[in-house]
């Protein structure tokens, strides 16, 4: 793809004001699909399954099949609407969105159009500078996910140039809630950070509600990012682009930054922005055009005749409202208190989008300090190198197991980092990796003393120095001993043994 001209970010912000809008799709983790009793590949512990093994006649849109709404999906959608501070519509309706594309076999997607289940809410998003930005929610509506297409042939594996496509309908009909924001103005240079923080806030909400697995790398949570630039002070809206299916927190932030720079360069050169969908490319850090809006974007929505209106009773809404988890700000305060983190430490976790990970890791048995250290430290570092979100690398349960091994002294930090690498490489759980790689700390003092003796043989003056009070001289022995033990010794224990030796021979 051709690389676009980019304007310096600061310069772009001097000239233009970014206007944002987000559509976040959340796959609900019900046991079954939205309109059929097929198992849901987005359910807890489920996976994508072998192709076309999780389908019913409804998923395939076979003649005579009749969709019936999943009650749990309705409850989850109402809970999410309430958590987003939305009004729940007394009557909402499903509608057909008509289009021809083989990701759905029936040539329409069941969605909601003018009568969504929830509307008019707000999410407060915390930024790194400590301020809170309120993102207004336009609506949250229910719909079904589409099947998965694999494009075969052609050079790139993308649709352009493909010879044919293969379709797996396991994902077709997975319950989705699409959360649509109102137009977001005033974010200015915080726009990229706000984008990431907003999606992270939505993720925190759906996880605390327990209604989605929310694994972005698996597509449980996907973001379409809309952005346009308004010449500063003009009060005129620009033409927007919509970057589709941005599938990590990191990419959401980068997409917004990139589009600001790209659009600013075009506008400053006197060009115009084409209203189009675009795709984010993680490898090159750029977006490229999908297709322009065309005649085919005429979805001819009409009420879905196979489904009846949803009219949640006041009792149901109040029951679900009463069962809501604490609001996000209250939750954050509670976690910060119970973990004993400083403001800075806690902000670091929140702004890295790792609140869910640290919370789950602590719940799985790690100390809060260890959980924070691993996620914001080594795991974040590795994720950065690999250009992915930390949460996609390793599960909270594995991090907790690793932290427990460190805390019990079975692993040093250094060994634990090697174990982490093994876990990320798919070698198994931390305990399994320790076993397979033979990475236990050598706690056999006999082996350590033998290594110390070897090291002392070549540096006999060290013990003398220690006895003279120069304790740091022990370092000259610790190094060679650690090397002889292939790093699998606890340096503190080695030091103790050296000092004991010096004193006993005194």
């Amino acid at each position: 793809m051709s690389s676009a001209e980019l304007m310096d970010f600061d310069k772009a912000l001097e000239l233009f004001e970014p206007v944002l809008g987000f559509e976040v799709h959340v796959e609900l983790n019900t046991k079954t699909k939205m309109f059929s009793p097929a198992p849901n590949p987005a359910a807890p512990g489920a996976d994508a399954g072998e192709p076309n093994t999780m389908v019913t006649p409804v998923c395939l849109g076979l003649p005579g099949s009749l969709p019936v709404v999943n009650e749990q999906a309705i409850r989850f959608s109402i809970s999410l609407g309430l958590a987003l501070g939305c009004e729940i519509a007394p009557t909402s309706r499903f509608a057909r969105k008509n289009y021809f594309y083989p990701d759905l076999a029936k040539n329409y997607q069941i969605s909601q159009y003018d009568e969504p289940i929830a509307h008019d809410g707000a999410v407060d998003v915390e930024l790194a500078n400590g301020t809170t930005f309120r993102v207004e929610i336009e609506r949250a509506h229910m719909e079904e996910d589409a099947g998965k297409l694999t494009h075969v042939g052609g050079a790139t594996g993308r649709i352009q140039g493909a010879d044919y496509s293969l379709v797996d309908y396991n994902r077709a009909g997975v319950p989705l809630v699409e959360i649509v924001t109102k137009m977001i103005t005033g974010a200015d240079r915080d726009a990229p950070e706000l984008a990431k923080a907003y999606v992270s806030a939505i993720r925190d909400i759906v996880v605390s509600l327990g209604i989605s697995e929310a694994r972005m790398e698996r597509g449980n949570l996907r973001c379409d990012a809309n952005i346009s630039l308004s010449p500063r002070g003009s009060g005129k809206l620009g033409t927007r682009t919509e970057t589709k299916n941005v599938n990590s927190l990191r990419s959401v932030e980068r997409t917004i930054r990139y589009e600001i720079q790209r659009q600013a360069a075009i506008l400053a050169a006197g060009g115009t922005i084409i209203q189009e969908t675009r795709h984010w490319h993680e490898d090159s850090g750029t977006t490229s055009p999908g297709r322009p809006k065309s005649d085919a974007d005429d979805y001819r929505y009409f009420p879905e005749p196979d489904l009846l209106p949803v009219e949640p009773s006041r009792e149901l809404i109040e029951e679900l409202r009463a069962a809501l988890p604490e609001p996000p700000a209250v939750r954050r305060n509670r976690l910060k208190e119970s973990w004993g983190f400083s403001d800075l430490e806690f902000q670091d976790v929140v702004n890295s989008g790792l609140l869910v990970e640290v919370e789950s890791t602590v719940a799985a048995g790690a100390s809060p300090a260890q959980a924070r250290k691993w996620w914001t430290g080594e795991i974040a570092r590795l994720a950065n190198v690999k250009a992915v979100d930390p949460s996609s690398l390793v599960s909270p349960a594995d991090v907790a197991a690793l932290a427990v091994l460190v805390e019990s002294g079975e692993l040093t930090d250094r060994l634990a980092r090697q174990v982490l690498e093994g876990v990320i490489a798919g070698e198994g759980t931390p305990v399994e990796v320790v076993e397979k790689r033979g990475l236990k700390v050598i706690s056999d003092d006999g082996a350590l003393i033998a290594a110390i003796d070897d090291a002392l043989a070549s540096q006999p003056d060290v013990l003398e120095k220690i006895r003279d009070g120069k304790l740091q001289a022990a370092g000259a022995i610790i190094g060679p001993v650690m090397k002889a033990m292939h790093g699998q010794a606890d340096a503190a224990r080695v030091r103790e043994l050296i000092l004991e030796r010096a004193n006993s021979q005194g």
């Binding site: 097929a38 749990q72 075969v152 297709r291 005749p305 949803v310």
Partner: protein
Amino acid sequence: MSESNPSPLDVAQVAHLANLARIALTPEEIEKLTGELGVIIESIAKVSEVATPDVPSTSHPIRLTNVFRPDVPGETLTVEEALSGAPERDGDRFKVPAILGEEQ
């Protein structure tokens, strides 16, 4: 454009709809359908004359709401059953022509 046509539809709209519905029509067919569909639209428009804004739209002949099913997994098709009607298959997946476009 057939300016003489009294139909509430014009040929361009019918051509557009045919394209959206992936139905190939000749210009003669489009012309004919423009008139025929126009008659249907006019007939239906008569209903609007009596339906005042306080009458809610009807999407179903029987006044039912909240028909749900419990979230309990049921029987699925086997792969063979699922693919039995496919014009073409490749392994366990449906094989379709490469269509320019993208997921909605």
